[in-house]
Symmetry: C2
Subunit: 480 residues, 2 copies
């Protein structure tokens, strides 16, 4: 085995010391005085366990995966030792099992009624909202399970990418069915300029279901096609999850008052802070708080497993995520976007993925030849990555030539042109990774993934500016 | 390819004519006048689709399974062509997806309230029972999904049997968590002779959860170890499912009066028939009716996929079920036994499995050597199956000798004894299949599975006699 492939050492003492810390968080809601939002403490505790479990189980199960023929060679390395593939399955299993074990903490009538009564001074509320939330939570789990299952089937049966596209549609069926059974909201708030036409609220009806299923198709596949270098999939998922968490935290009833300087972002909406729920963007709406708490329940453990997995997937990778990881992470984002009703905000966190998807369209839809792999090309001598190219076996059509020339002017691709005939006979593959390499020059693999991560972070910062600044121009505070 | 292995022909005309019939059943609840228990019509329709889907998809996906290395050779045949293995995965996928698509029919407030109001003349009931039932339904689906996932992982990673045993425990976690969150009943009705000690109802508390998880471990593994000949797993599942359905039908509000001649079975309980819910053993208890309707929702499509799969798994088998099938079927039985509260009755339908499990114990727990396969031995010349044997490499201990001699006297095993020393050096493997062969002589494989099926049917008949006859001696009509 190549020396770079011995499992990464784990700082056991440091990690073992996390076990009691996590235990305290898990059990905190059972201790007096019950904190507000007790479920969140448990969720944080379980997320730490998720991190530890991923950290230890990924290397432990590596040989089992290799034995079951779930392995691949790293295309961008000099060595060809087999690396365990599809280990996103381990992440997904840890994630889902912890989410299942979590069920009684927010949803058991005995536990929840106790803490709700304490927090609200109101023990008379019926258990119906709890039943409803439990059904929604369980349908989300079902969709995650289906995404795991289908992702793993994809890894085992190696489904062709055209057949893959609808897979997330199937996985989102439980979500949609329960959304329908529970008479979920299908209204959208109309942007200010269009209110003359449609009114304040527009009922999309069946179109809303179409929108939801397309959302899960997008979040899932967009991570899956921005892949190929060590750490790319997991770092995207990690940064998006953290962005969602930051957005959720804005809506929690913090005990201290705080104020986002919205006026700096051009938003003129009044910021009214205080009341029973103290600070936070929820402005006292218990429904908004509970939606974002729901989102946190799914995002916190996702961050846990991502961090644990990233340790082994980081350059040079000891483990590959496989499609399973992308499907589960993508579905988790869809779940929170749909169930907590912030799908537009969620999409803002996918700016690099949207860019990559739009850029890929000429290849996905057949204008430009689409080779099996579009990952950058590895040069063993310089140990750097170069843009990979796709070759035109026949001269490109006029439409293709036009599209490619525009992309080339925008520095989105690099063309190789026959100097005598002027016909394009090669272009770099249309991915964000090749785009980086075209503009920044050849990069080391680790540096390239760092560039990708910085872009993702910058995208999230931009997303917050748009969401809490510019959105004020087309939406008022009305959120449903 | 061996001629016996070309896919079985399908009578397409006959089958296509089933499509509109199934369609009528699915859509019947949406037509006026709404029938009582409208969900059952849809369930019957979807079960027909389940049958058709299994019938067509099993052979269609066979080559894909073989290509993904999910294949095995049939140990009891002369040919060694690869047969697709783990095709229970196809059954499980059809089963679960149809159960998910089914969700809106009984649980959507719009659909259900309409039909409930019609059926009961009572539109004022809140939606809380519906929410509660939906949560229970979803948790059952989650457990089925986990059983599928774990069964398939078992097939891919080929987990050793000792490590397999606890797998159903994991799959039952969603069931238990939601049972707890929904404050499920943990009381059992005490048999009449013990009521002086414990009272009428005994709260088992945590022990009840232990009981439920052991139940799923048993139903799952007991089917998995009664395996090895063509059609054995699926025929067991089919007959148990049909038995459960017959038992459920007894509790439905039939429009005609009928009376089970309980006095013939020695039961002296009064049979009071009539009222709003007409005939049926539920005696007007709407809760009992809804429990058994819930059970039918899970059992009807299971019968559908079993029938479809059995067509291809019948001797000589064109497809193998794999662990996936046993796990899903076993978990489905646990789900209905637990959620519809008839686990004792359910266990009565497992009499051959209980017999096989008890008989296997000396091998499972190490008294007698346990070879990798315990299936009967195939003799190519006579084309019949003979009891397979396990050999003692060392002389058996005194305990083992005692146990084996008792089993031998009861004709449960056949011993080969060294004529000079009197030491046992071989015995037939301790399974119900070898037990049949020891007592009935060598049998053709098809005949052996028919014997097994007859035994299963006889077991179910006995179960009904015990449940509705003898049980009257130790239980009164009190069911909770």
């Amino acid at each position: 085995m190549h020396s770079a492939l011995t499992p990464r050492p784990l700082p056991t003492v440091l990690l073992v010391s996390l076990v009691p810390v996590a235990g305290w968080f898990v059990l905190r809601p059972l201790l007096d005085p019950v904190p507000p939002l007790p479920g969140l403490y448990t969720s944080v505790g379980l997320s730490i366990y998720a991190f530890l479990a991923a950290l230890y189980m990924i290397p432990a199960l590596g040989p089992t995966f290799i034995k079951a023929n779930l392995k691949g060679r790293d295309l961008l390395k000099t060595y060809s030792d087999p690396i365990p593939e599809s280990q996103g399955l381990v992440c997904a299993s840890i994630y889902i099992i912890l989410l299942i074990i979590f069920i009684p903490f927010p949803f058991a009538r005995t536990v929840a009624s106790l803490s709700h009564a304490e927090a609200n001074g109101d023990s008379s509320r019926g258990s119906e909202p709890l039943h409803h939330q439990l059904a929604v939570y369980l349908s989300s789990l079902l969709s995650l399970m289906m995404a795991t299952m289908l992702g793993f089937l994809d890894d085992v049966f190696d489904i062709r990418w055209r057949h893959k596209l609808p897979i997330p549609l199937i996985a989102s069926i439980p979500l949609l069915m329960v959304y329908f059974a529970e008479s979920g909201n299908t209204h959208v708030v109309v942007p200010l300029p269009l209110r003359g036409l449609f009114g304040v609220l527009l009922n999309l009806g069946p179109l809303y279901y179409l929108y939801m299923s397309l959302l899960s198709t997008f979040t899932t596949n967009s991570i899956n096609i921005l892949a190929g270098i060590n750490g790319s999939e997991v770092s995207q998922a990690l940064i998006i999850a953290i962005s969602v968490i930051i957005n959720d935290l804005l809506y929690l009833p913090w005990p201290v008052d705080f104020r986002i300087p919205l006026h700096l972002l051009g938003n003129k909406a009044e910021v009214d802070i205080g009341g029973e729920w103290h600070a936070g963007m929820a402005y006292g709406s218990q429904e908004l708080v509970s939606r974002h708490v729901f989102s946190l329940y799914f995002m916190l453990p996702l961050v846990g497993v991502c961090l644990g997995f990233m340790y082994h997937n980081w350059y040079p990778a000891r483990a590959f995520p496989g499609d399973t990881f992308c499907y589960v992470a993508g579905m988790a984002f869809s779940v929170v976007g749909i169930q907590a009703h912030f799908s537009k905000t969620l999409l803002l966190f996918f700016l690099p993925q949207i860019f990559n998807f739009v850029l890929s369209c000429p290849q996905l839809f057949g204008l430009v030849p689409n080779p099996r792999h579009r990952v950058p090309r590895f040069d063993a001598d310089t140990n750097k990555l170069y843009p990979s190219k796709t070759m035109f076996l026949r001269p490109p059509s006029r439409l293709t030539t036009l599209v490619l020339r525009i992309l080339s002017v925008l520095r989105l691709t690099e063309l190789t042109i026959n100097s005598t005939t002027g016909v394009i006979h090669e272009c770099t593959n249309l991915t964000i990774l090749n785009f980086f390499l075209v503009n920044l020059g050849p990069l080391h693999e680790k540096r390239l993934v760092q560039v990708l991560m910085c872009t993702q972070v910058a995208g999230s910062v931009l997303a917050f500016v748009v969401r809490y600044g510019l959105a004020g121009l087309v939406y008022d505070g009305d959120r449903r």
